[in-house]
C-alpha cells in the first residue's frame, strides 16, 4: 500500500467520523424534548439561575456554533456537563469505560479463542463431527445476547450460585457477562473460520505440498492456516468491534455499571450530553476498527504488501 492510499483511507475514516458526529449532535439537538424541562424538572428556576444554566449549556447559541464548540471541546477531552447531577460527562465516562473495556476485552478473548478453536478442526476434518458441530454452531448463532444472558443468570447465578447474578465485582462478576457477550459472535467466527479453512484445504497448492511429502501438520500450519487467516482476521476485528454494541445489552442484563448501561439510563433520563458522548465514542470505535481491519487485511496479503514497496 502506498502512503497515498494510506492517507486516503485515514481521510475517509475522518470524514466518516465527522459525518457521524454531526448526525449524533444534530439528531439530539432536534429532539422534541426541551433541555430546560430536563434540567429543572418540575421546579421553576429564578431568572438568574435560568440565565446562568442557559449560558452554561450554551442553549442560546446558534446550532452550528454549538456544534463546532462541542466538537472543539470533545477534541480536548471535554464532553460537556451532564444534565443529571451536573457532573462532567468526561468524569462519568471515566468511571464506566474501564468496566466496559474489561468486559469487551474478556469477551473478545473468548470470542477469538472459541471461534478459532472450533472453526479450524471443523474446516480441516469434514465428516460427522463437523456436521454435528455445524448444526450446534448454527443454533448457538441464533441465541441473542439477552437470551443467553438471562439463561446464564438463571442457571449459573440463581440456580447454582457459582457467580453473582447482578453487578460486577471484579473479574468473577465479568465471567458470565463476557461469556454471554461472546457466544453469538464466537459461533459466527467459527462458521467463517470453518468456511475459510475448508476452502483453502481444497486448493491445489495443498496437493502440491502433500505430494512433496510434507507432513500434515506442516501443511496445515504453514500453508492452509496462513492462507485462511485473511477472512478470519477481518471478521474477527469487526465482531470484536460489534461487542461494544452487544455490551449495551449485556451490561443492562447483568446490571454492570459500564458505558452501555450508562447510555440506556441516560436515554431514559434524556441526558443528551451523555448520550452524545457515548454515541460518538462508540461510532469512533466502529469506524476505527473497520479501518484497522481493512488496513490489516491489506497488510497481510503479500501481493498487496509488495505493491507498497
Amino acid at each position: 500500500m502506498t502512503v497515498r492510499e494510506l492517507l486516503r483511507t485515514v481521510g475517509a475514516m475522518c470524514v466518516s467520523i465527522l459525518a457521524a458526529s454531526f448526525v449524533v449532535f444534530a439528531s439530539l439537538y432536534a429532539a422534541p424534548g426541551d433541555a430546560e424541562s430536563v434540567l429543572f424538572g418540575s421546579t421553576t428556576p429564578t431568572d438568574e439561575v435560568r440565565a446562568a444554566v442557559r449560558d452554561q449549556y450554551r442553549l442560546d447559541d446558534p446550532f452550528l456554533v454549538r456544534y463546532v464548540h462541542w466538537l472543539g471541546s470533545v477534541a480536548h477531552g471535554d464532553f460537556g456537563t451532564s444534565f443529571v447531577g451536573g457532573q462532567s460527562v468526561a468524569t462519568r465516562l471515566g468511571a464506566t469505560a474501564p468496566t466496559t473495556l474489561a468486559l469487551v476485552g474478556l469477551a473478545g478473548l473468548l470470542l477469538v479463542v472459541i471461534g478459532i478453536a472450533l472453526g479450524v478442526p471443523m474446516g480441516l476434518r469434514p465428516g460427522r463431527v463437523d456436521t454435528v458441530l455445524t448444526t450446534v454452531v448454527a443454533v448457538v448463532a441464533g441465541i441473542p445476547t439477552f437470551v443467553s444472558a438471562t439463561l446464564l443468570i438463571a442457571v449459573f447465578a440463581v440456580g447454582l450460585g457459582w457467580f453473582p447474578a447482578y453487578g460486577a465485582d471484579g473479574l468473577r462478576g465479568l465471567v458470565l457477562p463476557a461469556l454471554s457477550l461472546a457466544l453469538v459472535s464466537s459461533a459466527m467466527l467459527a462458521r467463517i473460520t470453518r468456511a475459510s479453512v475448508r476452502a483453502e484445504s481444497g486448493r491445489e497448492y495443498v496437493t502440491t505440498a502433500r505430494a512433496r511429502g510434507l507432513p500434515s501438520r506442516v501443511v496445515v500450519a504453514r500453508h492452509i492456516l496462513p492462507n485462511a487467516a485473511g477472512p478470519v482476521i477481518t471478521a474477527g476485528g469487526l465482531l470484536v468491534a460489534a461487542l461494544f454494541a452487544g455490551a449495551i445489552v449485556v451490561e443492562n442484563a447483568f446490571g454492570i455499571a459500564g458505558l452501555g448501561s450508562l447510555l440506556v439510563s441516560s436515554v431514559n433520563r434524556q441526558d443528551f450530553p451523555t448520550v452524545q458522548a457515548i454515541s460518538l465514542l462508540l461510532v469512533v470505535v466502529f469506524v476505527l476498527t473497520n479501518t484497522l481491519v481493512d488496513l490489516a487485511a491489506r497488510g497481510l496479503d503479500p501481493r498487496q504488501r509488495r505493491r507498497a514497496a
Binding site: P126, R203, E204, Y205, T207, T208, A209, R210, A211, R212, G213, L214, S216, R222, H223, P226, N227, P302, R303, R306
Partner: protein
Amino acid sequence: MTSPLLEIGDVVVDLPGRGTVLRDITLAMASGESLGLVGESGAGKSMLARAVAGLLPAGAARLGTIRFDGAPLSRSRTGRDGARRRLGMVFQDARAHLDPRQRIGDFLLETTPRRARPARLPEVLALLDRVGLAEPRRLLDRYPDQLSGGMLQRIMIASVVLADPALVLADEPTTALDVTTQAEVVAILDELRRERGTGLLFISHDLDLAAQLCDRIAVLYAGTVQEVAAAGALAADPRHPYTRALFAARPDIERRLPRLPAIAGHPVAAYESGAGCAFAPRCDRAVDACGTALPELVGTEHAVRCLVAAPPAPATRREGVTRC
C-alpha cells in the same frame, strides 16, 4: 522387463458420489523408462497418477496393488510417505499449485531441513539456470503472482528434480501453457529425465506429443487401458479401433482433410459404461459380442483390449497376438 520400477496390478478406483473411474488397470514401467498415458478428459488419466502418488480425493476407494521400487504403496491419502519418497509429481496448472504466500526460494527449499538449506542453495540456483530461468538468485525472492505460467512450471519441474526422484508423474504439465512455452517445457522435462535416468509417466490428451516424448504409450478409455505399445509401433500400427480413431481425428498439415473426422458419440466415464467394451457404442466395427463382456488385454509387447482388433500389420512383424 527386469524388476519394474512401477508395477500397477488390477487397480480399481471408486470415487464417492461418482462410482468407478478406473478398472482393471495393469501397467508396468522399467527404471528410466518413459510411459505416455493418453486419453480424453474423463478417461481416468489423472486419477491413475493420483492413485500412484497417494493423492486420491477423500473417500476414494482403491483396490489392487501398486508397487514402486519394489515396495507396495499404501492407500493412504497423505501423499508422499516413506515408500513414495522417490516419486515426484508435476501438475497441470503450476500457478494454482503454488502457495500464493510463499516465495519461490522458500518453496524450493521447503522440503530441505533448515540447517541443510544454505549448502543446498548453489544446487538450487544451478537447477533454476538449467531449466532456463534467468537471474535465479533474484527469482528466489519472488512470489508466484509475479511470474508467468511457463516460469512457474519450470520452477515446479526444478522442485521435483531437486528431490532426485526415480519416477516423475507429469499430469498434463503443458496444457495450461501457450504453444511455444509448451515445447520448451517438454524439452526441459525430457532432457532432465534423460540426464538423470529418471522414469517418466507422462499424462496427456495429446497423442503426438506423448509419442514424441515417450518410449511407450498406453491408451486409456473409460478408465481402462485399451492398448499399450512402444510409441513407434503404436503410431505405425494402431490396433484398437479407439486408437485408430484418435490417430484419424488428429489434424495433419500434410494431409489436408475437408473437415476433421471426429469420433461419433461422446466419451463415457468408467461408471457410465456397461458390461461390455466401453467403446462399443461409438465403435464402427463393433459386433454383438462387444456389448456383453469386457475383453481381456491381450499381448505382451503390443497389448490390445478388443475382440475385433485389427490383426498385426503384415509389413511389421510384431509378437503381439490378438485373439479374435
